[in-house]
């Protein structure tokens, strides 16, 4: 193990980790927005909302994220959609994780006991009022953990944006390998940075989950 080399290059990896973090954070935000919208649409009684939501989830969970990313980045310009690597990365990853988040959010909403909606409706609350004041506050607590799992998956999966030359952790590792011929050190170093990010996120998710958990 060439520790001298690691000492020399680690700051560049730290800078790359910052890019990984940014692209992941933005993609997660986009995924959450899409996930909430699609989850609510998918449980709507209106088929014009429900159907597109189901299609979205099926397509983006049913095809490789890498292909989706290539389609957006390389195929986009063909239909007039010109995106830089970073933008394409955020959008591609965000739309993909949004499909998974849709299922997490939908699952949490459906996991709230049926009696809760009945009790709310019996008091004379409308469907939207019941959702907002009774179902969603409980569902939010239930979705913290699954969404945390999605977020961690996304952070690790963000390595694929190296293929469209976003200068993040994986891309940086490749670049230093081609100049140093030390793949072992470089991939270990990149892994450590991923591990740190994922550990921090997991810890945060656990804390949030504990904080919002219903007393029992």
């Amino acid at each position: 193990m060439d520790f001298a080399l690691i000492a020399k290059v680690w700051t560049f990896f730290a800078a790359a980790a910052w890019v990984t973090l940014q692209i992941s954070a933005l993609a997660i935000c986009l995924g959450l927005c899409l996930g909430f919208a699609a989850a609510l649409a998918s449980i709507s009684r209106n088929v014009l909302l429900r159907f597109p939501a189901r299609v979205y989830v099926s397509i983006f969970r049913g095809t490789p994220a890498l292909i989706q990313l290539f389609l957006l980045y390389y195929g986009g310009p063909q239909i007039g959609l010109q995106l830089g690597p970073f933008e394409a990365g955020v959008i591609g990853l965000g739309i993909n994780i949004g499909a998974y988040m849709t299922e997490s959010i939908r699952g949490a909403i459906l996991a709230v006991e049926k009696g809760q909606m009945e009790a709310a409706r019996c008091l004379g609350l409308g469907h939207v009022q019941s959702m907002r004041n009774v179902i969603l506050p409980q569902a939010l607590r239930l979705m913290v953990r699954p969404l945390g799992v999605n977020a961690v998956a996304l952070i690790k999966g963000s390595a694929i944006v190296s293929t469209i030359s976003v200068v993040e952790l994986t891309y940086t590792a490749h670049r230093y390998i081609s100049s140093t011929y030390k793949p072992f050190e470089m991939f270990i170093l990149a892994s450590l940075f991923y591990l740190v990010i994922v550990s921090v996120v997991s810890f945060a998710v656990n804390r949030i989950d504990e904080r919002v958990a219903l007393e029992s």
Binding site: R45, E113, G115, Q116, E118, A119, A120, R121, C122, L123, G124, L125, G126, H127, Q129, N133, V134, P137, Q138, R141, L214, E215, S216
Partner: protein
Amino acid sequence: MSNDPIIRIKDLHKSFGPVEVLKGIDMDVAPGQIVALIGPSGSGKSTLLRTINQLEDVTSGEIFFDGALVNRDLPHRQREKHLNRLRQDIGMVFQHFNLFPHLTAIENVTMAPVLLGRQTKTQALAEARALLEKVGLSDRADYYPSRLSGGQKQRVAIARALAMNPKAMLFDEVTSALDPELVGEVNKVMKQLAQEHMTMIIVTHELRFASDVADHVVFMADGVVVEEGPPDALFRAPQHERTKAFLQQVFEG
């Protein structure tokens, strides 16, 4: 007090898929009347109760509440509005309490009147305190449901329903999920409501309580009303074999 029934059910049928669970029910409930619905499991009594506020829709027949046809055939949006308005006047208490676990006892009680613009937050809090006191839970106002016993939860649930100032209350086996020693405290609250002439329909397995508190008992089996009458008559001198068999089973069991 008018003599028109506050709840009138006419030739009500309800099927779940191919299974008909209500086979033509007729029933009148006068204002202030306390009706106990008894019968074996699967007789349709809970379903009947749930059709009154349309937690279950019906296959055919009519339900009137306070003069209005509950199951009016309306487009979805209008039907929702119509039901939201009606449901404000029909309190319901469930077997499994269905308290909102993310809200404290008093928040459970104040939520609906505030959201529906019935009361200001301040009014609702004062009203809720009075209701919690009425059900004997003043000291539990700020507890979350998870910290309450079953009996306490059910009493909060009753207070929550009363907060809308309903014209009638529906009780769906409200003591069935309780430990035996907690049944009394809930029954006591219901008796108190009965004394205040709240219109009540009580689905129950507790025949002693039914005979104590109800002024009209309806015995259902297999989706029909087999026999009904004042508790004394129905319990002491049942006319139908089906009723006799049921009572015998329950009292021997």
